[in-house]
Subunit: 344 residues, 2 copies
């Protein structure tokens, strides 16, 4: 991030017609945006949510409340024609409300997806291998997904996106996300494995056990983050990592949605610590382990609505808050300009 733009933004903020600090966390967010966009008056405009879908070998182990068939069915739902416009899922409804564009990506769904002009086809394999017994992906496969995610982010940026929201759909994917988080933060599986879309106690125990089995296989260590990603991750997680890197490289902001996105971010900051400066966590999601991710990133979420849906929904909800934070730096007058007594 651009330290001199951040300093200039802070100086400007101190002159704006409000008591010092009265906009709370919005003030830090505004300054961080100044750092991302390299100007004391950042003007992010386009918002894009990039939903990557992938399937997971570990779903065969009964770690989700839903069957794997839901992954392709939801991809079709993201793309469906509806009376309200394209897409009948939560992310579509929320994105229409806040004016965000939705991109959908097949990163590795285990199905023949129908042709659709709005579907970005980048499937590396029809789902990962079962991480309980073998590496989920080869390094080449994971790398291909990272590059594909970066390519989609590049397209979104070319089409006007300033705030990018990696999102995901993949039945079973909170299990690899938990495995990645446990490995990278060196936490016990019980501390990072949660109920995902809402599994019962027996399924939760199977999830914890699946994460433990994956961690106990000989695998890559923390010193090799991409190895860990291939070993324990998923195609949509790798794709989201690529989106984050591309956004940062293009000096755009990333709104970080939930726990699965957080696992991609952990891989990212392990590789390139400065990636952190481009990440803006949306909410603290209901998934256990998300708080540990945010603590590691030393980033504070904007809200706590108890979301646990994925799809990037929380990220889209947070976009107006970030746009507003930037607007205060650009559009508020200073005490001197407004002739208001009491400036610093």
């Amino acid at each position: 991030a651009d330290g001199s733009a951040m300093r200039a933004a802070r100086e400007r903020q101190a002159q704006l017609t409000k008591p010092a600090g009265a906009l709370g966390d919005l003030e830090d967010l505004a300054v961080r945006l100044a750092g991302v966009f390299g100007t004391e008056q950042p003007h992010p405009q386009g918002v894009a949510v990039l939903v990557a879908a992938g399937d997971h070998g570990v779903a065969a182990g009964g770690v989700s409340a839903y069957p794997p068939e839901v992954t392709p069915a939801m991809v079709a739902n993201f793309l469906a024609d509806t009376p309200a416009g394209p897409g009948g899922a939560a992310v579509n409804a929320i994105a229409r409300t806040v004016g965000a564009r939705v991109y959908v990506m097949d990163a590795g769904v285990n199905a023949d997806l129908p042709e659709h002009p709005a579907l970005f086809r980048a499937s590396v394999r029809r789902g990962t291998r079962d991480l309980r017994s073998e590496p989920a992906m080869t390094q080449e496969e994971a790398g291909a997904s990272v590059l594909a995610g970066a390519a989609l982010a590049r397209r979104a940026i070319e089409e006007g996106a300033d705030l990018l929201i990696p999102g995901e759909m993949g039945i079973g994917n909170t299990t690899p996300a938990a495995a990645l988080t446990a490995r990278l933060l060196e936490l016990d599986p019980t501390r990072v494995t949660g109920r995902g879309t809402g599994v019962d106690d027996a399924t939760l125990l199977r999830k914890v056990d699946a994460v433990r089995q994956a961690l106990e296989r000989e695998g890559s260590g923390r010193a090799d983050p991409l190895g860990v990603l291939a070993d324990l991750g998923g195609f949509e997680i790798a794709a989201m990592l690529g989106m984050m890197f591309q956004a940062a490289a293009s000096r755009r902001a990333v709104i970080l949605d939930g726990f699965v996105e957080g696992s991609a971010a952990l891989v990212g900051v392990a590789l390139v610590p400065a990636l952190r400066d481009f990440l803006f966590p949306a909410g603290e999601c209901a998934e256990v382990g998300h708080a540990a991710q945010l603590a590691h990133l030393e980033l504070k979420p904007m809200f706590c609505l108890g979301l646990r849906l994925g799809e990037g929904t929380g990220g889209v909800l947070a976009a107006p808050l970030l746009l507003s934070a930037a607007a205060t730096l650009r559009e508020m007058r200073t005490f001197a300009e407004a002739g208001v007594p009491g400036g610093a």
Copy 2:
């Protein structure tokens, strides 16, 4: 609120393409909006923030970090021509970002405000009397402000507002808000008197003392909420109460911003408990005592950004969350419509 619309909304919500409960607090918000608008698929559109300004006799007691001259200066700032559009205050910048309309009302500013077509002139008196030594307003004065606030809300509703955000500007007004909260919730002044725009320790002690003096005068009791309002309140607080009543009467939703707005809401629910169903708290503001207000209302805020600016800023930030909650009920497809396995 319309109980049958709420039940229908809940049944519809259970069929939508998401795990049960996965949208967290957004689900309850959507159902409450169904109750307000009387339909299982609520479609709120226009957002209006109504900023009422007033001055306070108690400001002479040194209870604020800013001089009373800031009140009229900020009213001028709300109305100023700027390169970005009308208004150079935080509420203007944020409202432009989320597409909300800003209304500005002189409810009782102690100054000659310049003519401006966008200023709603409804000043009852040039500021309240000093509540430490006498009632801040007569019942007639308070009643006139309530009616003026209702009239402005009616105008905003006629001009398309579905979500109404009462907002305020008035140097010294967290002192009457604390007095109202202490009286109506029967709490000690120290528990509800905070730092407002950021006062130092000595000023905070003066504020607590001012609230205590006001409460120790012979005054109206909880059984007479309008009497309490006149005794301890302010013109902008009375006006916001009128806005809330008019919004509820017109079946529109009220986004409840901060601590001063909360004190108006406490008067409102003391008079008409059903008003609560029309209130949607934005964030938990930094002001001590706000949490006690929300607990009394049994309402959960949408975020916690540590805002303590007023002007309705938090309410405007919350508007996209409410609009999004409603959109999920209208625009998401059901499991059956989408052909997704796993519906209830």
